[in-house]
Symmetry: C2
Subunit: 215 residues, 2 copies
DNA sequence: CCTAACTTACTAACCAGTTGGTTAAAACAA
DNA sequence: TTGTTTTAACCAACTGGTTAGTAAGTTAGG
């Protein structure tokens, strides 16, 4: 099939996608330079076109690959958890972990949201819907078991995911903000996920029986 | 002073800033074309340089003007509210209102977060710190009055703001997502703010009986 | 000698920023 | 009043650097 192999199987394509993810994440689609991506991948621009295609194809490929990995981690980790609360916390942990395991997905998604998802391919939407369905099911289980109060699942999902993604991505800005406001800004990803979990799990709890403090 | 006046005082500059806000919001800084902005403002590109300066100055001017308006609305509306809970809900309402009153700020801020705020001028950070201080104070009052449990104010602030901004900005994507997942996605800005308020206010409530999660 | 993998060198378009002007209101001079 | 100068406001056309994408040829494994 292939007369001349690279160092290993489809090494070039992987390196291209990795480099592209990095660049797209930090400067966005229009800000990204194909030459720059090629150089970081240690190849020539023409080879990038040979292996992947044009800039849009490259972007789509990065998106799909990146969300695929995220979705896999997500389903895997939530499967282990038992209670709905634990599962929800797992979702948050998994998103926070993207901060290290897959640090390019979050900035890319934030940009997509900012532009109304104009360039989001349907392929991507389907995978995002997969994430939503997972959360929706967890929320549904919680309501059924009487531990969560019923809420609009889509809004709750988006709040949850938006909150944790925003927290993770805002780290550099939080650092500058904290300096101005004089507060601590050094938080681990775990702390971010725990904080969000505390707020949301408590926010979703059914009203406890004793001491009804009406609001 | 000015031999020839436009239709009214500094009309051109305002039109330029309005057009620029629109374009920067939808395609970002690098995606924005100066010619495009000029055309939308109904003037020539050279006039844009004459009135405002180069692309970076233009961007900074848009940022400052936009956040200035947002901050004004925010302080005004929270001042009216009495209880910490009501004040917090006011903050959410004010952010949600940005969706209509100032629809470009949220996408622009999401992009800034995505890029780590690399292009955020200090002038802008100072104003963001102003918003934070306001929220921090509301949270502090709530804790003092015994209605909020103590949390990290910066993280709570960012969660809150991130959540509502994400909800507002994600509307187009939610619409596509809802179509795939078969759920309702038509929510008014008020519904978004109320949903977030419900979750967070309940999440911040003091425990009726200590049932501590971890951390 | 065929073909996947790779390269160099190009081009066509794009785009931020500039140049070198025009216009007309207004301030000034006689 | 009337001619002269100044200046804010405006523009078409250009410049020069950049960048997505391509063409045409090279190398080496099978």
């Amino acid at each position: 099939m292939s007369p001349r192999k690279s160092i290993d199987e489809s090494d070039a394509r992987d390196r291209i996608l990795a480099a592209a993810a990095e660049v797209f994440a930090s400067v966005g689609f229009t800000g990204a330079r194909v030459d720059d991506i090629a150089e970081r991948a240690g190849i020539n621009k023409a080879m990038l076109y040979y292996h992947v295609g044009d800039k849009e194809r490259l972007y789509a490929a990065v998106l799909i690959k990146t969300v695929e990995r995220g979705l896999a981690t997500l389903t895997e980790s939530t499967a282990k958890a038992q209670t709905p609360s634990a599962k929800l916390q797992c979702v948050l942990d998994a998103f926070a972990d993207l901060g290290t395991s897959n640090p390019h997905l979050i900035p890319i998604m934030l940009r997509e949201v900012a532009s109304g998802g104009a360039t989001l391919p349907d392929e991507m939407l389907v995978r995002m819907a997969g994430v939503f369905r997972l959360v929706q099911q967890v929320l549904g289980e919680g309501v059924e078991e009487g531990v969560f109060r019923p809420t609009d699942p889509l809004l709750t999902h988006v709040s949850l995911v938006g909150s944790i993604m925003f927290l993770v991505a805002s780290q550099p800005i939080r650092a500058r903000l904290g300096k101005i406001a004089g507060v601590n800004t050094q938080h681990s990803l775990r702390e971010l996920a725990d904080h969000t979990g505390n707020l949301f799990l408590k926010g979703l709890e059914v009203e406890p029986q004793p001491k009804r403090r009406k609001k």
